[in-house]
């Protein structure tokens, strides 16, 4: 039996939730106040994911950087690999919101897309 302790992010309550795991399976969730807390805790201990947001350099644009995000959430453990994969990426202006700047980032199967339009200089 393994116990994991987390703080719920659903609201400012910040409920301290304890999840009991056995062989990777959730056996018990305690400490939550509402359904959102239980759902968050189950996901967070079995498959924690995040949207990663960062920037990449733009060539020939009115601004030197364009903001980007992963089009879907990716496993939490891949955050740094994703940031690393984007470090060398350069895109050419013009850039439109939604343009793919890197496909299948760090083997996640998720594309990284622009979140801002950058006109050509």
């Amino acid at each position: 039996m393994e116990k994991k302790h987390l703080i719920c992010i659903g609201c400012p309550m910040g409920c301290p939730i304890t999840v009991t795991l056995e062989a990777g399976e959730v056996r018990e969730v305690t400490g939550f106040t509402c359904k959102r807390g239980e759902a968050y805790a189950r996901k967070e201990v079995t498959n924690p994911t995040r949207i990663v947001t960062t920037t990449v350099r733009v060539e020939g644009g009115v601004s030197p950087m364009v903001s980007v995000k992963t089009a879907q959430d990716i496993p939490k453990g891949k955050i740094f690999a994703c940031a690393e994969a984007l470090r060398g990426v350069r895109v050419k202006a013009p850039v439109a919101i939604g343009d793919v700047v890197l496909s299948n980032a760090a083997g996640t199967g998720v594309d990284v897309v622009a979140t801002k339009a950058v006109a050509a200089r």
Binding site: P12, M13, R50, T53, S67
Partner: protein, 420 residues
């Protein structure tokens, strides 16, 4: 001198939403004045996601949220001037501004919407002892450098203040390869969202030290290190608790100050609590025809609420321009009591209210299982239980126009926290 129906000062989220709603209410001659080189305001540097859940039912990044409103402004062909600094606003609504192409110029407006936003509290306002080397930035300045200019302000970082910008920058600097050693917070609680504490600090193993502050900054040319100390219940450093940190950068995330120099020059009454204008239900200030919305009015937690408030200001300014805002009615004051720090609006004219009036406020401490109560004079008219209220989040109550109209002798409305 050019004359406009409505001039909006500031092209950030508040100014954009106000412009769109004023145009949709039928106002033709609108002009937005923006000092930066693009519309969108602070959202342009807030590249993280989490914006727009209320407005668009999806999680957008800051630039995406801004783009939705910029598109609406452009679809409506609302004119705007960029790189334009407003220098003065007079009580008779003459605006003095300047930019590189037009030089110094004046405009006359039938109504003005103040939407200038905030600036960050700088080191000079924090009384931190020590030398004055390079490497001390407000968190928002660092955010602009990293996200818009592509520059990393430093590699070994300490952050003072656990407001959301500080937390977001802890994660951002970490992702860019910097080592964020600690976030120190003077208060015994964080002013930031739980979600940001978990996803910006815990995810990366960055410690949050509550009840701690910076008591020394070292380094002549560049920051070489800082000293943290624990503070007591009076927020005074406790001798013997000092800890030294080596770092080349100190980020300050210690609060936002509404940028109200122009409001002051127009003679607008300001609240000592919010540092923003005192407004009524129409978001009208003490100066007739001058309206305020967004963070220049009071610091918001969510941009969605800025957009809602600014849209209301735009509708009210449109009514004012058409002469439809009733005048002469005495305002009923709203009193903030028992842990409620302030209310926006601070007074209401019942006949000018929309059917439902949202009253927003913040509390001064963390409250659990307490009630938000509204009194009409001595009579309690509503009581709502809240599991938790915290200073970092805005709260609201809703007043109904019909309830106020049915009480013609009402003298004052009180919003208060009552503990169980």
């Amino acid at each position: 001198m050019n004359t406009y129906d409505i001039v909006i000062i500031g092209g950030g989220p508040a100014g954009l939403a106000a412009a769109v709603s004023a145009r949709d209410a039928g106002v033709e001659r609108i002009l937005i004045l923006e000092r930066d080189q693009e519309l969108g305001g602070i959202l342009n540097q807030c590249i993280h996601n989490g914006f727009g859940l209320h407005t668009f039912q999806e999680e957008l990044t800051g630039p995406e949220y801004a783009a939705r409103f910029i598109d609406q402004v452009q679809e409506r062909q609302i004119p705007y001037l960029l790189n334009t600094m407003v220098l003065d606003v007079s009580a008779d609504r003459v605006i003095t501004a300047m930019n590189k192409t037009d030089g110094l110029f004046q405009l006359s407006a039938r109504a003005i919407i103040l939407a200038m936003g905030c600036r960050e509290r700088p080191r000079g306002a924090l009384n931190i002892p020590g030398t004055r080397p390079a490497g001390i930035y407000s968190a928002g300045t660092a955010q602009r450098l990293v996200n818009m200019e592509g520059l990393l302000p430093g590699r070994k970082v300490v952050i003072l203040g656990s407001g959301d910008i500080g937390l977001i920058m802890a994660r951002r600097m970490t992702l860019e390869g910097a080592q964020v050693q600690v976030v120190a917070e003077l208060m015994p609680y964080s002013g930031g969202l739980k979600r940001n504490i978990v996803q910006c600090l815990d995810d990366f193993g960055i410690p949050l030290k509550l009840s701690h502050t910076v008591v020394d900054i070292r380094g002549r040319e560049r920051v070489e290190g800082i000293t943290l100390a624990q503070v007591d219940e009076h927020l005074k450093p406790i001798p013997g608790t000092e800890e030294d940190y080596e770092c080349d950068t100190l980020l300050l995330s210690c609060g936002l100050i509404p940028e109200n120099e122009l409001s002051r020059s127009a003679g607008v009454d300001l609240s000592p609590v919010t540092s923003g204008a005192v407004v009524d239900e129409s978001l009208e200030t003490s100066v007739p025809g001058v309206f305020a919305c967004g963070n220049v009015l009071h610091v918001h937690d969510l941009v969605d609420f800025v957009s809602q408030e600014a849209a209301a200001a735009g509708r009210a300014a449109a009514k004012y321009v058409r002469g439809e805002l009733e005048t002469g009615e005495a305002a009923i004051p709203l009193k903030a009591q028992g842990g409620v720090r302030y209310t926006v609006p601070a007074r209401v004219h019942p006949h000018r209210m929309e059917a439902e009036q949202v009253v927003r406020f913040r509390v001064g401490a963390v409250y659990r299982n307490a009630y938000v109560s509204v009194y009409f004079d001595g009579e309690r008219v509503s009581r709502r239980k809240r599991q938790i209220m915290a200073p970092g989040e805005m709260e609201q109550v809703v007043l109904k126009r019909e309830d106020l109209l049915s009480r013609p002798d009402l003298k004052a409305i009180t919003v208060t926290i009552e503990e169980a």
